[in-house]
């Protein structure tokens, strides 16, 4: 007996992983981290990514020269938050912000990473060498103002997104960028005509907010292009952080930048992170996209897309006040579009449209988040909640609908000779906690795969005892 009828497990749809700065830095080797901390701006960026309690810990020992006993640090936080304390300690150690050090007397203590400490203080109080990106000394003859830079950055970035959605407009994106999209698995080569098509991850990428998109893109860029073009990772990261702590609307000089960095700058220019009028102009303006890099996902200061355009009504209608093809295309990912006017597109959320989106790998959470992020100011003003709860719930229900089955691998036991045999084995399996399902009338039961061996052994022993 005990014949095995196996039920296979279906792979769960993978949600898209977008690392934050902390997760990324953790993957870097210690020596690279130390090199990164050689620049005040990197220290600032890392500092801002720390958990809030951790930031206060760092501040408290920033001006302390000798190691601080670990017991003292632990006493800073109230007893009931000790879990949070341990978490903070882990993060600070992982990022090599502080190190363990012995205090005379044998107590374990913490001391800030000397390089980190020095550069953090420098960022705060001044001194030291100037940043490698320097301000332009003479005035620009044709200075650019902030609205211009915003518009430029949006245009460039949308160009990339446009390309991904497959809108008609396809020029203005270089072969490098396409290769990067392919590498990031946001697009893949179509098997038939070898043209790039968008992937499951790509769809999810489209629904993220701009700051997240930029960060994800930059990560992929560093991962891939840096090796290909022989750029130094530390140099690139440092430059990025410096950019993100520069001032919007100010021009900076390319003077003193290495050949490799100038190449990197050209790449950034292509994605709209910096503006340059002329390639050899010798000056550049950082845009908001670049400033948001270090701010990361936690908060996007003055996001370019702050002005929302979507209105969702309780009758599942979605109004998108926009004339941009891209924005309409994004809404159309999970909406059935009905009408298009010069400045307005109307769609309706239906079960079919949502299910189609779910099939292409977008989660309900992502759709809801997208709608919320781009909600029209009038909807924000009415809120919270910004979106009608019925619509939000329904989208989630439509997603859950697809998860009605819970697959778990197991082994089927059936054809027991007596009711008693069945009961003994079932009770044993239940006691072990490996029973998945049982039916007393049909004398069948399913145990988990891991529990199969134990149950089988028990059954053999039990049978032998009976004989």
């Amino acid at each position: 007996m005990a014949d095995a009828g196996k039920i296979s497990k279906q792979p769960q749809s993978k949600t898209f992983q977008c690392k934050n700065l902390h997760d990324y830095l953790k993957t870097l080797p210690a020596s690279t981290l130390d090199k990164l901390y050689n620049h005040p701006t990197t220290c600032l960026a890392v500092y801002r990514e720390l958990p809030e309690i951790g930031r206060h810990y760092v501040i408290r020992i920033l001006f302390v020269e000798q190691p601080v006993p670990q017991a003292v640090v632990a006493s800073w936080l109230a007893q009931e938050h000790s879990k949070e304390h341990n978490e903070v300690i882990k993060v600070l150690s992982e990022l090599r912000v502080w190190q363990e050090a012995a205090i005379p007397g044998g107590l374990p203590g913490w001391i800030l990473n000397p390089i980190f400490k020095k550069n953090c203080r420098m960022a705060l109080l001044g001194g030291g060498r100037a940043n490698c990106i320097q301000s332009q000394l003479d005035a620009d003859s044709k200075p650019r103002d902030i609205p211009f830079l915003d518009q430029y950055a949006t245009e460039r970035w949308e160009c990339v997104l446009h390309y991904m959605v497959g809108s008609q407009q396809q020029e203005g994106i270089s072969a490098d960028a396409v290769r990067l999209l392919l590498h990031a698995k946001l697009m893949k080569r179509d098997e038939e005509d070898n043209s790039p098509i968008i992937t499951r991850e790509g769809f999810q990428f489209l629904l993220m907010d701009t700051a997240q998109q930029v960060w994800h893109f930059i990560l992929q860029y560093l991962h891939y292009t840096v090796q290909e073009h022989n750029l130094d990772l530390v140099e690139c990261l440092t430059f990025l952080f410096q950019l993100s702590f520069s001032t919007l609307g100010k021009d900076y000089s390319t003077q003193g930048m290495s050949e490799a960095m100038l190449k990197f700058l050209q790449h950034l220019r292509e994605f709209g992170l910096v503006y340059q009028r002329k390639r050899k102009g010798g000056r550049f303006y950082p845009t908001r996209l670049a400033l948001n890099i270090a701010a990361g996902q936690t908060s996007a200061p003055g996001d370019i897309e702050r002005v929302g355009y979507i209105v969702v009504e309780t009758n599942y209608r979605v109004y998108a006040y926009t004339d941009s093809n891209l924005q309409v295309a994004l809404v159309a990912l999970f909406c059935e579009m009905m009408y298009r006017f010069p400045n307005l597109a109307v769609g309706i959320l239906t079960r079919d449209s949502i299910r189609q989106a779910l099939r292409s790998g977008i989660t309900a959470e992502q759709m809801i988040n997208f709608l919320r992020l781009h909600a029209h100011p009038r909807m924000v003003a009415q809120g919270p909640p910004t979106l009608p709860p019925t619509v939000v719930d329904q989208i989630k229900l439509w997603e859950n609908e697809r998860d009605r089955f819970n697959f778990s691998e197991g082994v089927l036991y059936s054809q027991f000779l007596s009711q008693q045999d069945f009961q003994v084995l079932r009770d044993h399996a239940q006691g072990l906690g490996v029973l998945i399902w049982q039916n007393e009338r049909q004398r069948t039961m399913v145990v988990t795969k891991g529990g199969h061996d134990d149950v089988k052994k028990f059954w053999k022993r039990y049978n032998r005892g009976n004989d």
Binding site: K250, P301, L373
Partner: protein
């Protein structure tokens, strides 16, 4: 991937610094002013460093005036057409541009206070520092920022007073107005006293849920500021901070500035007096002089200021 939608939270810290030259620590060591200012500027920079969206403003006050030393109109805004020559100095060291900018603006704006000290306009040299005035300006500023913020944004504001002055009784009414306004607007008021135990300001801290700290030594000012006053109120609950002191809730009378338990209260404007006076000095109401003991009881009220 982070999909939890959080409100964009901004926290605004307004610091009121007492620049009165008659503060005891300044009379003894005038150079200490730089030390205090440096500490305050570093605290402000630390606050900006904590989060990208944090904002800061600094108000200064002496006996003649109170004025902003740093606020968002001073924020970095390069003017197109004259970039390079705009008010923004070019960075020459490793300091973060924003921090350097704050420091230079404070240094520039502080000058107008020192000019005051020598001008003839400023004759009441021994008068009290106008902290209440500075706080009122700060509250107006916070109110404006609240109105100007974008939809969906949340602004957490708090006030911090750094002072070495002793009194404050002459501005009793103004202080009380500030405290209750702050309480109503959910603004936490913290006080860092450099010299004295200040009863009145302690009341203010207690009312608004802030912290009062008289620092034991001026040398360590920066560490005290960073330990106690940098954390936001929600974080303070988790940290172990000095326990709140017992607050003296006695009121000062309006005639002699004495702290009193029992006194006379004007029935119209609730001014407090330690001795009976026929005309209220605040609202000019005329009282009947206390004739017999019986009628006197009507005028006189047991005062329990809360």
């Amino acid at each position: 991937m982070h999909l939890i939608f959080t409100e964009v939270e901004t926290s605004l810290l307004v610091i009121a610094v007492d620049l009165h030259s008659r503060q005891r620590y300044l009379r003894e060591h005038p150079s200490q002013l730089m030390h205090v200012l440096d500490s305050v500027v570093t605290l402000a920079n630390m606050h900006l460093m904590l989060k990208t969206k944090n904002k800061v403003a600094i108000v200064g006050c002496n006996a003649a005036r109170s004025d902003f030393i740093f606020c968002d109109t001073d924020a970095i805004q390069p003017q197109p057409g004259q970039s390079g020559q705009s008010g923004l100095a070019r960075q020459s060291d490793g300091q973060y541009e924003l921090f350097a900018h704050l420091e230079t603006s404070v240094k520039q704006n502080i000058k107008k206070f020192s000019v005051d000290e020598n001008s003839s306009f400023f004759d009441d040299k021994d008068g009290e520092s106008l902290i209440a005035g500075a706080l009122t300006m700060a509250l107006c500023y916070i109110n404006r920022m609240n109105r100007e913020k974008a939809t969906g944004e949340k602004l957490n504001s708090r006030l911090l007073i750094v002072t070495g002055c002793s009194g404050g009784a002459s501005q009793h009414m103004a202080y009380m107005n500030v405290f209750f306004t702050a309480q109503k607007l959910n603004i936490v008021l913290d006080v860092c006293s450099l010299d004295y135990e200040l009863g009145l300001l302690q009341q203010g801290c207690d009312i608004t849920g802030g912290l009062f700290l008289k620092i034991p030594q001026l040398q360590g000012l920066l560490q005290y500021l960073l330990w106690v006053f940098l954390p936001e109120p929600p974080i303070r609950k988790k940290l172990v901070l000095p326990p709140p002191a017992k607050v003296d809730y006695r009121a000062a009378c309006f005639c002699h500035r004495n702290l009193i338990d029992i006194g006379f209260v004007c029935s119209i404007c609730l001014s407090i007096f330690c001795k009976f006076s026929p005309i209220c000095t605040t609202c000019n109401t005329v009282f009947k002089p206390p004739g017999s003991l019986l009628s006197k009881k009507k005028k006189k009220a047991n005062k329990n200021v809360c």
